[in-house]
Symmetry: C2
Subunit: 615 residues, 2 copies
């Protein structure tokens, strides 16, 4: 029974990802051809195209591995939870570590291989480097980051539409109309919902963060290539070193916390996860100091559009700011979305009177929650930009993502626990269900933290790339007191809204379709009487088709708008557009991610009977 | 009976506005003292302080007159509607014209008086003007616009919290829980709801648009003061002339449409209102041509931070762009929020399955609706900025607001019709209720158009003032490729979110309080049995207290953040902050205004039985 259900989820996830990767593969190849024809036809080496393809493949592989493990870890977690909470926790957590460490490790490994291959084939091996040798080298290597981002875009959108359509559809009919329990086996949408956790929150989130990691590392490398000192002393490897050091620290911390801190109560599961994040951040601090002290030249000059003088301690501070900003953003997200703190508790009490006041207050909560993260980001940008120009921004992104292995582990842990709960419910394992619920609740909160990281680092990376773009095109001044720049800025600030409108509209439509289908099944089949089996496949098909159909338009919007704008208005227009999209996208992202997280946890808070209604 | 209810609404509105104006008066006086001490102590003339106070008073007076008329027009509309739809329409419409024409007329008159008074007392009357005479003159006159904006801020926030808290509270308990009709006399919140229409949608909206009008005119004047040609040929009166011409055109159009087009069916009421807006816009086009052809010098130079050469035809195009942008924005708003078009119809069908998909799709609808308005604004900014720098931006705002009298008339008409419906319902006048419902439905859509105008013109005005600020402080380049500027930009983009969080949080809390009170009354009193009278006063008190208490924090946020930021980071920081707030605020404003309008009309669409549910 348990294995059957696990297999349904596993097959569903596998089928969806393969179909999705087929579509993405088509796009990737089209883009690769464009890069080859437009950018590299002259040189005839097609190295950037290769890097692009490798980046895409690495992203796809990491996502797939994460999913592959999670659909196997979920049923094991259910089994262990049936005996002991602690064992279940470890199983789910270890499943998450595969995603976390595999993704970061694979990302680094392939990038290093790429650099080495380039050196072997294209650089003079005697040690004397051709003119602009390293700069050119890193520019083509940057295709790796682009490939990662490109896959991330479609995976995130496609996976997101899938998981939300299934989630909304299954919950609304199953829980609200039919009064079934969450994840009831009688609900035709329940398998789709569980598949969604794997393809959206594991493969999608993994691809997203892989994109940020690859982009920030490549942005650092590109800028490093302009510095003679960094080239001579191999200091350009610094971002890779930071990520590598991060893997070590994360591994150490996860071992410590798993073995020294037995997570055998609800409270302790929660503490264990949060402790790891804190511990990693604390340990990374001296680690970053050592890295910058011993592997960076004391002082170096970045010869970008102007000479930027940077000391190794300045580079250290950029990383540190990113690292701790990430932690504070995560902690703020936690505060606003966890059922343990005032905001969600207050949101839950609003439901006593009416759903409408809950919606108004939920939106307000998300809006409030932008304040501290945006302050952190603004301070990080200000200081690291001042200290080391765009290199500083890129370093702060690398610093923020240095704890990515743990971040992704916790992220991956959530859907596994969620799935485990689903399986327990469907198999009527009451004891397991109690334990998986505890794991799931903790995972919900920590997942919100992952989103906070993703948005924060995406903002820094986007800014670093924006700077690289401006430098590359010779636009050193983007004066918003000019007609073109200001108009582009306001137009760019609209793009995240248009993008969100497309994805939310898609979720609304797909969820609607799902609801109609589930209602149809309940009406025409004897599911509640236990005679007919619900048709899970049909629901999976609806989510799959909707996500593949609807992911194209928003994906193209993101890719095409700067290109079209660039042809029409030139680099100054694109600069305005990008700046507008960055500053507005951060707000939309943080506010809606937290509103959603808070609503989700307010629901859990109420379901667990925490709300005492007087009258 | 009818008079009693009208008196309750009238007294409630009167009391609230008087209380609100007391609080606003205190703030205004504090600001006036600050202006006098900080800005004008050296000159010792205190003219800007005087202009500031006059601007505030004009705004307060216009709002109060609008409310005074509307609480008298509402009951008359009910009476007329009881006999004929057409008569009711004319009455409500005429009530609206008082707000529209009074506000624009009074605004212009006082500004002209102010300029004349300054000339008499401070300028050399022999015709030779002191050095920087006119420039200085208009700078102090600009205090008028500031006064208007300052009152607008608090009126809009206070009135908005009042009306929404009452609306949500009354509807949720009355309609959803108790299953009463809208505006039922048994609902304790119903009077507060009707008062809210007057204080929020009439006095608040009036103050808001008065602020935009005064600011845009003053921004034009300030820049005009730097042009010798404009001074010599009295061309600086151009913005006043445009507004004055607008009054004439609007008056003509409203007479034509009232007398030549008998609005005796639901369809024709709707057409009548829309036709006026279109007709006014069409007629304003040649009028603007005449104004710029005969009252502006053929060519003139604005000596701001650089010499800007402008021809009268260029000025004409700036106005035209603003005028037609306003129309397109209004029309788009109409498309997205009216029950006659596809978006709202689709939104309504989403409700068949579940409230959740309706919420998701409603938010998506609002996000979609930013596209065309932002394109219009971006094009207007680009062209008029290119043609005539900040003068062009200010002119386009003046052009957009040239049809304000009609815009405000339609805006004022809506709440009067809404109130008339309330009174009809409470007095059980069935025939009147049918007619007022028709008037109200048309008013709902056109009110959304007014909000579109308000946001569009506010954006242009804000940009013009931002330009004036930058020029004044000698910041000619705001390069967002600099640490301070970019950080300020992203921080500024967060401010509209923080502001919205505060106001929405206030509405959520106040509505919650209102719901509890209304539920208490239903539980403890015998209202449904017709024995006890509901306690309307108590509900009015809750809305009043909440709005006065909660309007302070967001108001101070708006006023203090640029000041504090300026002291901390100087003019470059403030420039980034303002630009960020403008580009992000436009999106938040348009999207949420349209989401709300669409939800409201989707509700009406369903209530009127337009939705045929299959299965």
């Amino acid at each position: 029974m348990m294995e059957d259900i696990a297999k349904l989820i596993s097959d569903g996830s596998d089928t969806f990802l393969k179909t999705e990767y087929m579509s993405i593969g088509v796009f990737t190849i089209i883009f690769a051809v464009i890069i080859a024809l437009v950018v590299e036809r002259e040189t005839g080496t097609y190295y950037a195209t290769g890097a692009f393809l490798l980046g895409s493949l690495t992203s796809i592989a990491s996502g797939y591995i994460g999913m592959w493990i999670s659909v196997r870890a979920n049923v094991r977690t259910t089994m262990r939870c049936n005996s002991q909470l602690y064992l279940g926790f470890i199983t789910a957590f270890r499943g998450g570590t595969v995603l976390g460490f595999c993704l970061v490790g694979l990302g680094l490994l392939n990038l290093v291989l790429l650099i080495m291959a380039y050196k072997v084939y294209f650089l003079d091996l005697t040690g004397t480097v051709k003119e602009r040798g390293y700069e050119e080298m890193f520019e083509v290597v940057a295709g790796y980051g682009l490939g990662g981002s490109c896959v991330a875009l479609f995976c995130r959108v496609g996976g997101g539409i899938y998981t939300k359509a299934a989630d909304v559809g299954a919950d609304l009919v199953g829980k609200v109309v039919q009064d079934l329990d969450e994840d009831s086996i009688m609900n035709p949408g329940t398998i789709a919902d569980n598949v969604g956790d794997n393809v959206g929150d594991i493969a999608g989130m993994g691809a997203d963060l892989f994109g940020s990691l690859a982009e920030s590392t490549c942005a650092c490398l590109v800028i490093s290539g302009s510095s003679p000192e960094l080239i001579q002393q191999s200091g350009y490897y610094f971002p890779l070193l930071v990520s590598a050091a991060g893997i070590l620290v994360c591994a150490l911390c996860s071992l410590i916390s798993i073995h020294c801190f037995k997570a055998d109560t609800s409270e302790r599961v929660y503490v264990s996860l949060n402790l790891q994040l804190l511990l990693t951040t604390i340990l990374m601090t001296p680690m970053l100091y050592l890295c910058s002290q011993y592997f960076l030249p004391k002082e170096f000059v970045l010869k970008t559009y102007k000479d930027v003088h940077v000391t190794n301690m300045e580079a250290f501070w950029c990383c540190i700011l990113g690292l701790w900003s990430g932690y504070v953003i995560g902690y703020t997200t936690n505060y606003y979305t966890s059922g343990s703190y005032a905001p969600v508790k207050k949101l839950a009490t609003q439901c006593v009177q009416s759903a409408a006041t809950n919606i108004i207050s939920g939106l307000a909560l998300g809006y409030y929650s932008t304040f501290i993260p945006v302050c952190c980001i603004a301070i990080t940008i200000f200081v690291s930009f001042t200290l080391a120009d765009m290199y500083g921004i890129a370093l702060s992104a690398v610093g923020m993502l240095s704890t990515l292995s743990i971040g992704l582990t916790i992220d991956g842990y959530g859907p596994i626990a969620d799935n485990a709960g689903g399986i327990a419910e469907m198999c009527d394992l009451e004891n397991a269900r109690i334990n998986t619920d505890i794991l799931d609740a903790a995972g919900n909160t920590t997942a919100a933290i992952g989103k906070g990281f993703a948005i924060g680092s995406a903002c820094l990376v986007a800014l670093a790339l924006f700077g690289a773009f401006a430098t590359e095109t010779g636009v050193f001044i983007v004066n918003i007191l000019q007609p073109l720049e200001f108009s582009s800025l306001i137009f760019g600030a609209m793009l995240p809204y248009l993008f969100s409108a497309m994805t939310m509209g898609a979720v609304g439509d797909a969820a609607n379709e799902m609801i109609i289908e589930i209602k149809r099944q309940f009406d025409t089949m004897k599911i509640r009487e236990g005679i007919d089996q619900p048709d899970y496949e049909q629901c999976i098909r609806i989510s799959t088709n909707a996500s593949l159909r609807y992911m194209i338009a928003p994906g193209l919007l993101v890719i095409l708008s700067p290109i079209v704008f660039g042809f029409a208005f030139g680099p100054r227009g694109v600069s305005g557009l990008l700046a507008g999209a960055i500053v507005s996208g951060v707000q939309v992202g943080i506010s809606f991610s937290n509103t959603g997280g808070a609503w989700d946890n307010a629901k859990k808070y109420i379901e667990h009977g925490n709300l005492i209604v007087n009258g």
